[in-house]
């Protein structure tokens, strides 16, 4: 596992009596899409929260490029190259689309203790942000206040903000949540195009998307990883089938 | 010296209980409604003014005190229904502004009705005497009575919160608001109940303390800010935290005023100590709050 970019070692997270993460050891390799699936309440979002630094684990370690980052706070991890999107859309609602992405660019240009120059007229922030929005097809919506974007557009913006900092790892917490079938298909295509350029941890309920995208899949049940493997291996795994209680549709 | 110490310790406990009566209701209002109510101190003040008038009107101290308590309670509930309940869904800035406006209004209103000068309430002779609580230690009977009443109220509150179903809902609400509404409990009813409870306690404090302190416009805010310090130290939503912090601060504040000048004399000249000592004593509880914040930003019993 020496080739892992981001990994957890025997991670535990307890909330009172509830064990949300139970001895979780997973590794995300450079360039791969690693999907994290499991029934509701399996602890997927809790795992993402710990990887991103939003939650501190009760025990265990998190390593990034072999370096222990367990105690490191969220902003520091973000600047190391761990970017994330949120399950519930989290953008700056009263800013424009371009502002949102420009802020992400700004976060990765060193400290922001710069008090004088107008940030909205700074080409080193605006140009890369515009470029990225154009690539993602959000260009025409650059000057719209984000609260007025459609749900699908907001989800895309989430990804754009995560990408703007040129991260090493993307943690995507249900990027297709609440999307219509058409928007979902677009997102899958989009993520497919990104594939290989950076490692991704994909938490997703949409099994079509997961099996279309993932290189490897880890199945989480009650906070515990019951299987890790290629999509074919996971399909064939009896324990996984049991966990989903005969949910044949997951392999549909 | 030991008489002085005992007397001041009792004063400290009494001050702590006074702050607790305000802080207990307020910490629940903050915890359950996530609402900043600066006008809580006004209820304390109005309780005291009501006591002044009603004792005078009825000619009976006990009857006046009882009537004043219920009048303040009614006043608090009317205030909640007509103004404060419209603020629950607003952000903190709205709540701060609106309740700040209410304070300005109430503080002036009492001056218009009762006059700008401070008022005092005379105790009936049977309550104005001192009794010997320990051999050679006399203590005012009235102060002793209100300490005992406050303790009884604290015990009653403890029973309500830990031993009854209503109390369970209040506790659940203070630690997790969403859960209570998810349980299908009528949250509005709970809000009114908690607010009424808080108003009643604040009014009771004002009514009881009126005879031993001057009744004046603005008397509520001094205690209110001390109650804030108690809530910050104890943790929002924790009545137990408020109780412990109140007693601690009451004692520290009272004994600090007694001893700090002497303590300062150990490290500086007598003249400097007599200036620094009292100033430091009045800042003491805030310094303790700062220390607690460094150590536990959400208070001793707050949820993190």
């Amino acid at each position: 596992m020496a080739d892992a970019l981001l990994e957890t070692k025997s991670l535990f997270k307890r909330f009172g009596g509830l064990v949300a993460t139970d001895n979780l050891t997973i590794a995300i390799r450079p360039g791969e899409i690693h999907a994290l699936i499991g029934p509701n309440g399996a602890g997927k979002s809790t795992a993402v929260a710990q990887l991103s630094g939003q939650l501190a684990p009760t025990a265990g370690h998190i390593l990034f490029e072999g370096r222990d980052i367990t105690r490191m706070r969220m902003p520091t991890r973000a600047r190391l190259g761990i970017a994330r999107s949120f399950q519930i859309t989290s953008v700056l609602k009263d800013f424009t689309t371009l502002d949102n992405v420009a802020l992400s660019v700004q976060a990765h240009q060193g400290h922001s203790f710069r008090f004088w120059k107008n940030a909205r007229k700074d080409p080193t922030l605006r140009d890369p942000a515009s470029l990225l929005l154009n690539e993602l097809g959000l260009g025409p919506r650059a000057d719209v206040i984000t609260a007025e974007l459609s749900h699908g557009e907001q989800r895309q913006l989430e990804i754009a903000m995560a990408l703007a900092g040129d991260p090493r790892v993307l943690l995507l917490d249900e990027p297709m949540a609440g999307m219509g079938p058409e928007e979902s298909t677009q997102m899958v295509t989009f993520l497919k195009n990104l594939k290989g350029s950076r490692a991704m941890l994909l938490v997703e309920h949409d099994m079509d998307a997961v099996f279309a995208l993932a290189d490897r899949i880890t199945v989480l049940v009650y906070g515990r990883a019951i299987a890790t493997g290629t999509p074919e291996e996971i399909r064939a795994n009896a324990e996984v089938r049991d966990a989903y209680l005969g949910a044949d549709d997951m392999v549909a | 010296m030991s008489t002085l110490l005992i007397e001041n310790t009792l004063h400290g406990i009494q001050l702590g209980l006074l702050i607790f009566l305000l802080a207990a209701g307020l910490t629940l209002v903050f915890g359950i409604m996530d609402m900043v109510n600066l006008a809580h101190g006004s209820l304390y003040m109005i309780g005291a003014y009501f006591a002044y008038t009603l004792i005078g009107m009825t000619g009976s101290f006990i009857l006046g005190v009882f009537l004043a308590f219920f009048a303040t309670l009614a006043f608090g509930i009317v205030l909640e229904k007509f103004v404060l309940s419209t603020l629950y869904q607003r952000d903190h800035l709205d709540q701060v502004l609106a309740t700040f406006g209410l304070i300005l209004f109430f503080n002036k209103m009492v001056q218009v009705i009762w006059g700008p000068a401070g008022l005092s309430i005379a105790l009936p002779p049977w309550l104005a005497q001192k009794i010997e609580i320990l051999p050679g230690v006399p203590y005012p009977l009235y102060r002793l009575s209100i300490t005992l009443v406050s303790l009884a109220v604290a015990a009653g509150l403890w029973y309500l919160i830990t031993q009854t179903r209503t109390g369970m809902l209040i506790r659940a609400g203070a630690s997790n608001r969403k859960m209570v509404s998810a349980l299908g409990v009528d949250i509005k009813w709970l809000f009114t109940l908690v607010f009424g409870l808080g108003a009643g306690l604040a009014g009771l404090a004002g009514v009881m303390y009126a005879p031993i302190s001057t009744v004046f416009s603005g008397m509520g805010e001094e205690v209110l800010i001390q109650a804030f310090v108690v809530i910050v130290i104890g943790g929002i939503g924790s009545v137990r935290g408020a109780f412990i912090a109140s007693l601690g601060l009451g004692l520290i504040d009272t004994l600090g005023r007694l001893f700090l000048v002497d303590l300062c004399k150990l490290v500086m000249s007598a003249a400097a100590a007599s200036t620094v000592g009292p100033a430091l004593a009045s800042m003491l509880i805030y310094l303790i709050m700062a220390a607690v914040l460094v150590w536990r930003p959400t208070g001793l019993f707050g949820r993190s």
């Binding site: 706070r73 976060a107 922001s112 | 701060v96 406006g101 200036t275 100033a279 310094l287």
Partner: protein, 324 residues
């Protein structure tokens, strides 16, 4: 405010009129012999400067501080204590007020910003009360009663003892403050501050250590309010703990909200409105003016939370008025 007149909306026109009127107040006062108006408007200017500093953290940073007047007092006392000891050089007094208030703000901010929401409001109020008691404890400088400044500040050729010079100096500081705040809130730093108000978790996830930026803003706001405090000391030729009473902190919040939170010029309108309303009500109602003013604040909170900002929008100002 852009210098290109063609791009001006209602807001810019009003701002321009406001500056013109403010600049003409001394002329009017000189011609009419009415010296009271200049004293009154000087007070409004000082309040406006203090409120603008509060607006940086409250309007743009979303941090409701109920203790901002403590920095008014600290700045005032810094200048007053120097004057008491015979030093009336404003070139020393004002920097001292700035640095001492900034230092207090840094320490108090570092403690208060560890908390959120209701806690933050209570804690800033409590710290302000602590500083208030410290002021009451300053026996050498008048304790409760405060002290009168025997001589106002001199800054090189400018003598603040002269009513008109004081007025123009306050106006200059005010305009500089507007310009400076305009730069700050639109800078990278300002974007982080405003972003954190909008969505703190998102800003953390993007890689901004939000606490540091907020602390810097809190410190800057405190330091700048110290300047306002030194001006207030000069205006009244008097400092006392009352400068940092909690009602004063509340008044500053009211001023910011009245003028329209989130707008640069808002506190200037707010301060003028506040001073005028306070003055007019106390002319009509003598010392019972709070009976009307209190309910007015309640109504402001309930129905007109964006203050004059809404008015400008109604009159056809820019849709996105947050920067103007």
């Amino acid at each position: 405010m852009s210098l290109d007149i063609r791009s001006w909306g209602v807001r810019e026109i009003f701002n321009f009129l406001l500056i013109t009127i403010l600049a003409l107040v001394p002329v009017y006062s000189w011609m009419s012999g009415n010296t009271f108006i200049i004293t009154l408007v000087t007070r409004a200017l000082v309040y406006a400067i203090a409120a603008m500093s509060l607006n940086l953290i409250m309007g743009y940073g979303g941090l409701v501080s109920f203790g901002h007047a403590m920095f008014l007092g600290i700045g005032g006392y810094a200048a007053g204590i120097m004057a008491f000891h015979g030093n009336t050089n404003g070139l020393l007094q004002f920097p001292l007020a700035f640095f001492v208030a900034g230092l207090f703000a840094m320490i108090i901010g570092a403690l208060s910003l560890r908390t959120r929401g209701v806690y933050f409001i209570m804690i800033t109020l409590a710290f302000a009360q602590m500083v208030y008691f410290a002021g009451v404890g300053l026996e050498a400088y008048g304790a409760d009663d405060g002290m009168t400044l025997s001589r106002r500040s001199r800054l090189g050729p400018i003598d603040l003892a002269d009513r008109n010079q004081l007025y123009l100096f306050c106006l200059a500081v005010l305009l500089f403050t507007v310009w400076m705040m305009g730069r700050i809130v639109n800078s990278r730093f300002g974007m982080v501050l405003r972003g954190a108000k909008s969505n703190e978790t998102r800003m953390l996830a993007l890689g901004f250590p939000v606490f540091r930026y907020r602390l810097a803003a809190f410190t800057m706001a405190g330091a700048w309010c110290g300047i306002a405090g030194a001006l207030m000391a000069n205006q009244a030729a008097f400092v006392s703990p009352a400068m940092m009473h909690w009602v004063q902190s509340g008044d500053l919040i009211v001023i910011v909200v009245m003028g329209g939170i989130n707008s640069l010029f808002g506190p200037v309108y707010g301060a003028l409105a506040f001073i005028i309303v306070e003055h007019q009500l106390s002319v009509w109602l003598k010392d019972t003016w709070q009976l009307v003013f209190g309910p007015m604040i309640v109504l402001l909170a309930l129905f007109a939370r964006n203050g004059l900002d809404d008015l400008f929008k109604l009159m056809g100002g820019r849709k996105d008025g947050r920067d103007g």
